[in-house]
């Protein structure tokens, strides 16, 4: 059974990322996020879910260090951080690939910035390009790839820096439905081999339930924590079977019932 728990300050021991009292105000008038307190457990996949305008991408960018909160702080492994760091890697909604560089160079970009030598970084990039299923495309340019393949390059780039946390901003929203499904299944497989913490922003209830160990529901204007849901779905078998799992289907209905008030 899944359970919906009230919002409590979580005190579990092994939290890799802590979000403490985050407020974000834009232009001194628009409150995007209000009093967000959250913990993200090591090795878990957490989805930030909510309708547009709930500040879920803002929260993810604050966690990544790309945006500064108006108040509050982010702790990674117990230490307060104020900017991007090597323990967090970002996967972008619009892929953010360099159009002038090959798949290999794009995937190795994070390593290049860390000052890894050419041979070493290309070997590692090749490994992760293979991992995300793009072997054979190393020398192609982004414009020669489909949307789904481009996002795989973005994923390989984030994996290659071997960050502990992967922050994914609606990574599958710019690709078509079939590709998205395949991508979601591959992500479940990837979690079996890569022991990482994932934080995923999505507006798709199905996607959140399908992938997540924990779903954080945000309500819009101002963005607040509404509820934390813990789906307990067995993902060990055939990934396609999850979509027929009654647990999965019920939880989608429950979450929709909770969110529909926010949608005109």
């Amino acid at each position: 059974m899944h359970m919906t728990q009230p919002i409590v300050a979580e005190t579990e021991a092994d939290q890799i990322i802590e979000v403490a009292g985050i407020h974000k105000v834009y232009n001194e008038t628009v409150t995007a996020l209000k009093d967000i307190n959250l913990g993200f457990g090591r090795g878990e996949l957490t989805s930030l879910l909510g309708p547009s305008g709930c500040g879920k991408t803002t929260l993810l960018k604050i966690i990544s260090g790309l945006l500064k909160p108006t108040s509050g702080e982010i702790r990674v492994n117990g230490e307060t951080v104020t900017g991007p760091g090597p323990e967090r890697a970002f996967v972008f909604q619009d892929f953010a690939l360099m159009p002038w560089a090959t798949v290999l160079k794009n995937a190795a970009f994070g390593l290049e910035l860390k000052g890894v030598g050419q041979k070493a970084r290309e070997d590692k990039a090749r490994h992760y390009i293979n991992e995300v299923g793009l072997a054979g495309f190393e020398d192609k340019y982004p414009h020669e790839l489909s949307g789904g393949m481009r996002q795989r390059v973005g994923l390989a780039r984030a994996l290659a820096v071997e960050a502990e946390v992967l922050l994914m901003d609606e990574p599958f929203s710019a690709v078509d439905e079939q590709t998205r499904r395949k991508f979601q299944e591959d992500l479940i497989r990837l979690r079996e081999t890569e022991n990482k913490t994932f934080i995923l922003v999505t507006h798709s209830i199905e996607e959140a339930v399908y992938l997540s160990d924990r779903i954080v529901l945000l309500s819009p204007r101002p963005g607040r924590l509404k509820q934390v849901v813990t789906p307990e779905i067995d993902r060990s078998g055939n990934p396609e079977a999850i979509r027929r799992n009654p647990e999965y289907l019920d939880l989608i209905d429950d979450i929709w019932a909770g969110l529909r008030d926010y949608v005109e």
Partner: protein, 250 residues
């Protein structure tokens, strides 16, 4: 264009004008227009004179000098305007004024400042080419994808790396500006020399027109046209190689 099922090449229209020119020339109606064939025959004549070689040397040197200066200053100015908002507010109007101003009118002033020699021509080429390069660079910098910049800072890019990404992202626009600058620079190099008129092709034009050597005069114009078109074509080729990602930018 097709005519009676035959493909007519693009240069065909030019050929018609050449024929009309030839006919008018053959009738010797206007002294200004010698027959086109005479003009063609005058080309080797012009090219082989020592004064042409000297003029070509001065033209090419001052052209390349002015253009190189315009490229460096234009790209830096464009970067500054694209990246620093206050600088943009301060400079944008002036750059636009200079872009549309009749710069030929400024050449006499340049001449007073830089004398009757090559520096004046270099500065004229620079003034003709630099503004469009600056404005196109600025446009390119303003269009750099924000997520690409976020990406580079999320992976911890240094200032130098971010600059490299901005420059590479803006490269298609910078090249487009450079091509326009190349073409405007040819105007600059000719107008500058015409007004200075004692060096380079300016001196040659003066020599030919004062001695009524109209065939030579036209031959020199044809050579300059070919020079300008050839350069623009070269930059166009270069642009096409970069183009492949201009359209693919997201």
């Amino acid at each position: 264009m097709e005519l009676y099922g035959y493909k007519v090449p693009k240069m065909a229209a030019l050929l018609v004008w050449v024929v009309i020119w030839e006919i008018i020339g053959q009738f010797e109606l206007v002294m200004l227009f010698p027959p086109f064939s005479d003009v063609l025959l005058a080309i080797p004549d012009v090219i082989t004179t020592p004064s042409f070689l000297e003029a070509a040397r001065i033209t090419v040197l001052s052209y390349l000098g002015g253009l190189a200066l315009a490229l460096v200053v234009g790209v830096s100015l464009g970067l500054l305007m694209g990246l620093v908002k206050p600088a943009d507010r301060l400079l944008n109007m002036w750059v636009n004024v200079f872009l549309s101003a009749p710069l030929s009118a400024l050449v006499p002033v340049i001449m007073i400042l830089f004398g009757m020699g090559m520096p004046t021509v270099i500065v004229t080429v620079f003034m003709f080419a630099v503004w469009i390069i600056a404005l196109d660079t600025r446009a390119g910098v303003l269009h750099v994808s924000p997520s690409l910049m976020e990406m580079s800072s999320s992976f911890g890019a240094s200032r130098w790396h971010r600059m490299k990404i901005i420059l590479l992202s803006a490269l298609p626009e910078i090249l487009a500006g450079f091509r326009l600058g190349v073409i405007r620079g040819v105007k600059g190099v000719v107008i500058g020399q015409l007004l200075v008129s004692i060096i380079g092709v300016g001196a040659l034009f003066a020599l030919y027109s004062q001695n009524f050597l109209m065939a030579h005069f036209w031959a020199l114009i044809l050579i300059l046209f070919a020079f300008a078109l050839g350069l623009a074509e070269m930059i166009g080729r270069l642009e096409q190689r970069v183009e492949y990602y201009a359209g693919a930018r997201s």
